[in-house]
Every structure is written in structure tokens, then in C-alpha cells.
């Protein structure tokens, strides 16, 4: 039993880093040294005792903006991933239990969306609809849910062929009940590590779109947008765009380390955990 609780050091590191950034997102407004939206110094000063990470293109404190951007960037990716899972998992399980015809229709529609990269498709949709936070969330969530659907369907098809699902059908349970009470709990473990993986992708999509100027609009602090605003500074050897980009990189690495650990736990043969 004790061996199951052992967490590899890389995963502990990931959890600690993630906790730090979630803390930033939750308590951001109370711990920022300066107001993130007002000019407090000169343009692009380097790191100093006064401004730990320096100032940005119009003299705002970068540390304050990184802290307050945590809420926007992580929050957006989280909401998007939750929405994408709600859509993808329910449709995936539905396709697995509702019979071959529904499955065929849903799967072909998903195939159609899979044929275009998410970022390119998002660019096209955002051109047509204009960029705002609700559009951004809905677009990425819908596009990403097609990828979630594939995983959820594959897992659910396996579960749906088990005897206890047939028993539930014979008992006369309704389709939604079977989906929620028989399939979902058994499909959950692989879906949890998939959640971490999809979160990473969505996080990078949101950051990339903001970096391209199509995500979160200024003056709201957001990491991808901050990299864009300060991109020019790099040619003068100023680190201003590196900090928000580094924040994005660190969060993604942390989530990936946790996902790797969850994956290695899941792929362990089922009997092995009982043996240890």
C-alpha cells in the first residue's frame, strides 16, 4: 500500500510549481507590488530592486503583469479545457452506446474537423467572428473537443462491450443513466491524464493566439499578449518578452511532468498495483 503513495520527484516538482502559479492566479490582486495597468517607471528598464523583472513597453511593472496575467491565461485555458471535455466526453460516450449509425455520423463529422490544424482553423473562425474572450473560448473548446471525442470514444467503446453494461440495459436503465453511471466512472482514469495533456495544448493555443494578436486584447494582462507587446525589446537585448514566455513554458513543463506520472501509473498492469 505504501508504495502506491510514492510520487516521483519530477511530479512533486510539477505539483509545487503548478501550486505556485495557481496561488498567483487566486491571490494575484493582493500580492502584486504595483498596479498592473498603470505606468510606474520608464520604458523597458532592466531588472532592478524596485522592479524585479523590469518594466514593459509603456513602463508598467512586468512582475505585476505576470502575476495578474496568471489568472487570465491559466483561467482561460482551464475553462476551455473543461468545456471541451464536457462536449467531447459526452459525445464520445454517446457515440459508443447509441449504436453504429450515430457513431458513424459523429465520427465522420469529427474526422472533418481533424483534417485542419486547430490553430489554422481558429485563425479562420476568429477572422470571421472577430476576437473576443467568449468567441475565443468557444472556438478553441469546440475544435479541441473533436480531439477529446476520439479518446473518449475509444475508451468508452471498450467499456461498453463489458457485461455489466448489457446487464444495465436489460434492467431497463435509460441511455443517459448508463452513460453517467456505468461508462463514465470506468472511463475516468485515462481521461484524467488526457485532461492534463489537453490543458497543455489549449494553454499553448491561447498563448499563441494572444501572441499573434488575436486572443486576449490589451490592456488586459495576459502572457501571450505581453510577449507580443514587448517582442521588439529583444533586439536591444532586453529580457522583457522572455519573462511572460518563460511563465508559459514553466507551467506547461509542470503540467507535463504531472501528466507523465499519471500516465505511467495508468499504464502499469492492473495487477501490479495490488502486488505492490
Amino acid at each position: 500500500m505504501m508504495a502506491r503513495l510514492r510520487i516521483p520527484p519530477t511530479a512533486i516538482f510539477g505539483i509545487l510549481v503548478l501550486a505556485l502559479f495557481i496561488g498567483m492566479a487566486l491571490f494575484g490582486p493582493w500580492i502584486v507590488p504595483y498596479d498592473p495597468d498603470t505606468t510606474v517607471g520608464r520604458t523597458w528598464t532592466g531588472p532592478s530592486a524596485e522592479f524585479w523583472l523590469g518594466t514593459d513597453n509603456i513602463g508598467r511593472d512586468i512582475l505585476s503583469r505576470v502575476i495578474s496575467g496568471a489568472r487570465t491565461t491559466i483561467g482561460l485555458a482551464l475553462v476551455t479545457t473543461i468545456l471541451s471535455f464536457a462536449i467531447g466526453v459526452s459525445l464520445g460516450i454517446f457515440a459508443a452506446v447509441a449504436g453504429p449509425r450515430v457513431d458513424a455520423v459523429l465520427s465522420r463529422v469529427v474526422d472533418m474537423f481533424l483534417s485542419i490544424p486547430v490553430l489554422i482553423m481558429a485563425l479562420i473562425v476568429l477572422t470571421a467572428l472577430g476576437s473576443s474572450i467568449p468567441t475565443l473560448i468557444l472556438t478553441i473548446a469546440l475544435l479541441d473537443s473533436t480531439r477529446v471525442y476520439l479518446v473518449a470514444r475509444a475508451v468508452a467503446v471498450d467499456v461498453a462491450s463489458r457485461d455489466f453494461v448489457d446487464v444495465a440495459r436489460l434492467r431497463g436503465e435509460s441511455l443517459p443513466w448508463i452513460m453517467a453511471h456505468e461508462i463514465l466512472p470506468n472511463a475516468l482514469p485515462p481521461l484524467i491524464s488526457e485532461f492534463g495533456l489537453r490543458f497543455c495544448f489549449n494553454f499553448l493555443y491561447v498563448a499563441s493566439l494572444s501572441f499573434l494578436g488575436l486572443g486576449v486584447q490589451p490592456p488586459q494582462a495576459d502572457w501571450g499578449g505581453m510577449v507580443r507587446e514587448n517582442g521588439q525589446a529583444i533586439t536591444f537585448g532586453i529580457l522583457a518578452p522572455i519573462w511572460p514566455a518563460m511563465a508559459i513554458a514553466i507551467v506547461t513543463v509542470a503540467v507535463n511532468l504531472i501528466v507523465d506520472w499519471l500516465l505511467s501509473r495508468n499504464t502499469r498492469p492492473s495487477g501490479a498495483s495490488a502486488e505492490l
Binding site: 489554422i120 477572422t127 499563441s208 501572441f211 499573434l212 522572455i242 513554458a249 507535463n256
Partner: protein, 260 residues
């Protein structure tokens, strides 16, 4: 749809009105896309040329030294390269090689008048930034494919015969792992399509991705559609290629697997 396909296939010239006009410049899109498509293909081609041999080589090396310090450091490097957003890698490269060391220019604006070596010099940083990302993916999957083959009984047999480890990997494991590796290579080249958009914007490289992002900012729908179409074709084409190559290399896939 057919008008579009015709226009893309012929490139420029006869069908030049087919992609329509740009809303902002009122000029045929094909004329603007032609040279940019060539630039983008050049960037993607160079990246593939660098990253494919590198990824397969490192993957084989990593698999043959499984569990050693080398393997672990390669794994950590790959994880970092995959997790970093493209622009972070790109800005780090600019900071080190352009600003601090001054080896390469920080912007990769290529003009037709530039000499071959000058243009190549300007392309080094974007190629490296793109290659980092793609190489990491391919290396990880190459390593996994080889190690999956290594657990087969015939590999154990080869070891029992006394064949050295390096020979087991190159002679016995590699040919059998070729199919998944080839599929992975084609799939990751398709991934280039996404990475190239961001990298072109960072380095102000005059390619298709930058054109598309500019058009999105101006809400120039015909241009965005045209670029989206080309990226879509490249993506689908490479995926198709990966499927075809997988079947060619592995005869077992030629007959559809009916009923598990």
C-alpha cells in the same frame, strides 16, 4: 471548391483569378501567395532536412542507451522543447545567438536580391527554432517505437545468440520499427504547418504564415481562406503520405483488419 483547387494546383498564371481578390489591397491573391509559398516551403524543407536525420539518430541513440544519463538528459531536453511555446524558444535563440553573440541577424526578412549564403544565414535561427520542436516529438516517438520492438521474443533470441546490443538495434529492431517511425516523421512534418505560423511572425519571415496572420488582423477573409486552404492541403497531404508509407513498409496493414 473546385475553383480553389484548380488555382492552388496551377500556382500562378492561367488560373490567377480563381483564389479571388484581397479585400485590402484589391490585387489577385495568387500573385501575393506565390513567392510567399515558395519562402514557406523553403523554410519547411530546410527544417525537415535538419530535423528528420537528427531526430532518428538521437532516437536510436537514446533507445540503445536506455536508462543511462544520456537517455535521461535527451528525454528531459525533449520534454522541454515540446512544452516551450514556439516564441519562447525563438526569443531565447535570438537573445543568445543574435544579440549576445551576434552570429546571425535577429530578423529573417529575405529579399530576392539577397545572395544564397546571406539568405541561408538569415534562415538559420527560424530553422533551428522550428527544428527544436519537431525533432523532440520525432525523437520521443522513434525511441518508443524501437523500445516497443525490443520487447519482442526474436530480439531476446538475438541477444541470447550473443549479438552485441548495437547490432541488435540496427539489424533486428530498426527494420521492424521502420513503419511507425516513418508514420511519425510524416505526421510531425504536418505539425510543422502550425509551428511555422508563429515562427514566421517572430522572425518577420516573409512567408505564408505571416501573410495569413496579417490578413486575420485586417479581417481580410479571402486571403485567410486561401492561406487556410493551402495549410489544410499540406496537413492532409502529409497525413495521407504517412498512412500510405505505413502501409507500404508494413505489408500486414494491406489487408483491412476485420473484427478484433
Amino acid at each position: 471548391m473546385t475553383r480553389w483547387c484548380c488555382a492552388t494546383a496551377s500556382g500562378s498564371g492561367r488560373c490567377c483569378t480563381y483564389l479571388g481578390q484581397s479585400l485590402t489591397t484589391q490585387t489577385p491573391i495568387v500573385e501575393a501567395i506565390g513567392p510567399r509559398l515558395v519562402s514557406t516551403l523553403r523554410l519547411a524543407g530546410l527544417t525537415a532536412l535538419v530535423s528528420v536525420p537528427l531526430a532518428i539518430g538521437l532516437g536510436i541513440l537514446s533507445a540503445s542507451r536506455e536508462g543511462t544519463v544520456l537517455d535521461r538528459s535527451l528525454a528531459i531536453g525533449a520534454l522541454a522543447a515540446i512544452s516551450f511555446p514556439e516564441f519562447f524558444t525563438a526569443y531565447l535563440l535570438i537573445l543568445v545567438f543574435s544579440v549576445k553573440l551576434g552570429w546571425f541577424p535577429n530578423l529573417s526578412t529575405i529579399f530576392p536580391e539577397m545572395g544564397f549564403w546571406e539568405a541561408l544565414n538569415a534562415m538559420v535561427l527560424p530553422v533551428v527554432a522550428l527544428a527544436c520542436l519537431v525533432t523532440a516529438h520525432m525523437m520521443r516517438m522513434t525511441r518508443t517505437s524501437i523500445l516497443a520492438v525490443m520487447s519482442q521474443p526474436y530480439i531476446e533470441m538475438a541477444f541470447l545468440k550473443g549479438v552485441p546490443r548495437s547490432a541488435v538495434i540496427t539489424r533486428h529492431a530498426l527494420p521492424n520499427a521502420a513503419a511507425p517511425i516513418i508514420a511519425v516523421v510524416a505526421m510531425n512534418l504536418a505539425y510543422l504547418v502550425v509551428g511555422i505560423v508563429v515562427i514566421e511572425v517572430v522572425f518577420v519571415y516573409p512567408g505564408l504564415g505571416q501573410y495569413m496572420v496579417d490578413a486575420v488582423a485586417k479581417r481580410d477573409i479571402p486571403v485567410v481562406q486561401a492561406c487556410g486552404l493551402i495549410f489544410g492541403i499540406a496537413f492532409i497531404g502529409l497525413n495521407l503520405l504517412s498512412d500510405i508509407l505505413a502501409v507500404l513498409v508494413n505489408p500486414r496493414l494491406r489487408r483491412p483488419n476485420r473484427g478484433r
